[in-house]
Amino acid sequence: MEKVFDYEVGIIGAGIVGAFTFDTLVTNGVKTCLCEAGEDVSLGASKANSAIIHAGYDPIPGSNMARLNVKGNKMYEEVAERLGEKLLKCGSIVVADETGLDGIKELYERGLANGVSGLKILNKEELHALEPNLNDNLCYGLLAKTAKVVSPYNFTISLCEEAIINGGTLKLDYPVDKLEFKNGGWKVSSGKNSFTCHYLVNCAGAGCDKINELAGAEKLNLTYTLGEYILLDKSEHGLVNRPIFPMPTKLGKGILVAPTVAGNIICGPTAKLIDKYSTRVTSEGVIEIREKTKNLVNGIDFRKAIKLYAGVRVKEGKDFILGFSKLVPNFYITAGICSPGLASAPAIADEILQNLQKCGVKTHKIAIKRRKPYINTQNLTEEEFAALIAKNPKFGKLICRCEGITEGEIEQVLKGVITPLTVEGIKRRLRATMGRCQGSFCLPMIIDIMAKYYKIDPSQVIIRGKTSLVTSRVKEAGIYSQKEEEEPKTNG
């Protein structure tokens, strides 16, 4: 008799890799459960990175990175279209000064070896015609036409939503703390809860070593490289038209200046080896970004900085580690998924599907139920916008003035496929509080809307994790109680 598991495949970790794997398996008819430690999806490396779907000229030919990056890049457009996610087909440029032509040529050759199309070496004129704000010392460029920019966390959210709509199961707040191989499958536990699955995929990002350990699989030696960023206001839109990279070094792709899908500019990331996972932004990092970007782009106005943030690249050796464990059965490892992990994620997921098929997992392409993208009133025509307000006046009530987000949009997200229980969940889905005032106008209103919607006290409205902004009062209004304290109290 065939053994019965709750799911055919279990996935641990809802970053971009877990999300693509989830969606790929579900849309191929595999009963799948994705579990995630956090209160929402995309809380790890997939929420704080450069958001670039690299072309693939950088990785060493023959590596996992090279193969999967180039393949993943080609897959993104179709997925974006299907999910209704934004994708900037802007290309990217690596720039070099007069001494850098050899380096540019080397990258070009490596790109060809990796099978990257759309590469072109630019001379000074061509370079500055494409990017008028580049530093005058820059003389050569490698244009990679296939590079793209996306919103990595929105992609992760949309992929998970599509998978759920098509029958997948997502378990949030599910930090896996125990793994047992029983009856030919895995029991995946988190505290008192557990489920069983025939195959298990480790997509736990910075937690992949711990998951391997719980499973009794290969020991992983992770290193952590901090990447800090400065994000500039949308007023700086157009400073560069595509990601501008310096020549890559052993440390990584270097500090870049790039547009985001929302129209902001990011400067970063730094690359600092740290011994413990932490996304702390250092003042040295901020200074380094300011100094290094000067060599790339003229006139960056750092007074227009609206946010400092950081992500951590989790590495294990020089390449992605992918494949079935050799020590325990039915256990697939994805580890050391640093850059270009975002670009490679759809291809990693595709390989996982193929490998599972080889093991006998039965698949069939399903007719995918499309996810309905959230309404963004900023993208509507006047007629559509007016009709929407007529139907629901809350779509005419502006809450986040910087990003133009209305109460109606916030409510639709609260009713979404994955209900965001935190203010930051709303922020990632809609960009509310992400603009130039960083929520100083709308945060109190959003807390109020959430308290009313969930019928809870504002002190229970979570900003992130399990933490709220509103605290209980230390004591009743101070001046009055102070007076009371002055009068000696008689106890009966």
């Binding site: 005419g396 109190p444 504002p458 994790g465 101070g478």
Partner: protein, 416 residues
């Protein structure tokens, strides 16, 4: 789409918009005021402390009381007011009028106006604008948001609070938090002098033994989920941090009071912006570089006291009313330049003629027993007044007899 026509559209129903709307109406113009919030009064709604109105109403009031005076006056003049109405776009048309797009729960509207008065107020600077690094835990909040949370929504936001920056809103909030039972650990100011008014230092900090640390600032935020502390360090005269003096101060909340910026974003691509104020460049009629587009109040430059906002906006409203009646005389404009110790001045252009010109400015450093002057290019003094002390924290004014303005003039702080 609904179309509405008016002579003057005022964007913003705070102290500035109300004052300008009232003044324009009194000067015979047909006015509409729009504001995105549910209630009129702008930022005054959340300023429940007193100290408002001494200069203009000669009477001490709270913020809401001050606003109410203006609201009652606007209502008595039957000025049409559209609430929960946000302006999303202002376009100048071929015929000189403005097409203004608004959105509200009632739908989209287009307002056609001969003149527009910008009175959108300001926003607060953020942690990134002072490059505040560290982790990003819950509990870092701007002073104005904290004020709104406590005074409008009745919600407390922390127990052990460190305040970064000594702006007025931060000082007021230090006292407010104290009243609400919080432990206000201290105010850290990067400069060697406070950036808020002296009366607020005395009444909000000293009276409650809240320490003010000058030349010391927060260099890093600590904490994973909620703020667990800050790292502070002394600041050298060249504004570098003296890292030897670093120390950790445990706290759960960080209030930022690090400056205000005019909210000009709606029009910043269409008009000339003063880089120093972030507000519009205006002439002595409060007209921006676009004819018929006026600006006043905190969207023009940040004011310390609301009375000055009202007086400025009354002038601007009058000029806009004259404009729509084609009665605004526009002679040759001369430049108003900044001289010794003057960081910025408003307006940037002025003409000669009758009456008086009131130039507002801020200084870049402290000076005692000095003179404020306005001189023509050849050195002729056309206005001069003594000042006991000038401070960056305090907006200064100098009044000039317009008949003496016959060329570009420079505002300076001088020894004698």
């Amino acid at each position: 789409m609904d179309k509405i026509k008016t002579e003057i559209l005022v964007i913003g129903g705070g102290a500035s918009g109300l004052s300008a709307g009232i003044s324009a109406t009194r000067n015979g113009a047909k006015v509409i005021i729009v504001d995105r919030e549910e209630k009129l009064g702008g930022i005054l709604k959340q300023c429940i402390h007193n100290g408002f109105g001494l200069k203009y109403y000669k009477k001490e009031m709270t913020g809401p009381e001050y606003a109410n005076n203006l609201i009652v006056e606007a209502k008595s003049l039957n000025i049409p007011i559209l609430m929960q109405t946000s302006v999303t776009k202002v376009t100048k048309m071929q015929n000189g009028s403005f097409k203004v797009k608004v959105v509200s729960p009632n739908g989209l509207k287009e307002i056609i106006a001969k003149a527009v008065i910008l009175a959108m107020g300001c926003r607060e600077r953020t942690a990134a604008s002072i490059s505040l690094g560290g982790t990003r835990p819950v509990g870092v909040i701007s002073a104005g948001s904290a004020q709104k949370m406590i005074n409008v929504y009745g919600q407390m936001i922390g127990k052990n609070v460190v305040i970064v920056g000594s702006g007025d809103v931060g000082l007021i909030m230090a006292r407010r938090l104290y009243f609400e039972g919080a432990n206000v650990i201290g105010v850290y100011e990067i400069n060697s002098i406070p950036s808020g008014l002296n009366r607020n230092i005395v009444q909000c900090l000293n009276d409650y033994n809240i320490p003010l640390h000058l030349s010391e600032t927060v260099v890093e935020v600590l904490g994973k989920d909620r703020v667990s502390g800050v790292v502070v360090a002394k600041v050298n005269p060249d504004f570098s941090f003296d890292l030897k003096t670093r120390r950790v101060i445990p706290c759960d909340t960080i209030l930022l009071s690090v400056g205000l910026v005019p909210e000009t974003d709606l029009v910043s691509n269409d008009i000339v912006i003063n880089k120093l104020t972030s507000g519009a460049v205006v002439d002595d009629n409060y007209q921006t570089s676009t004819s018929g587009l006026f600006s006043c109040g905190n969207v023009l430059h940040v004011h310390d006291i609301v009375d000055d906002v009202t007086m400025e906006s009354i002038d601007a409203g009058k000029c806009a009313a004259l404009f729509v009646k084609n009665k605004l005389t526009e002679g040759k404009k001369f430049k108003v330049l900044t001289g010794n110790l003057v960081r910025y001045s408003v307006p940037s252009y002025a003409e000669g003629g009758q009456g008086f010109l009131n130039v507002k400015f801020r200084v870049s450093g402290v000076k005692k027993d000095c003179f404020i002057t306005a001189r023509l290019a050849d050195g002729t003094v056309i206005a001069k007044r003594p000042a006991k002390i000038v401070l960056p924290a305090q907006m200064e004014q100098v009044v000039i007899d317009k008949s003496k303005i016959v060329g570009d003039l420079t505002i300076s702080v001088e020894d004698n």
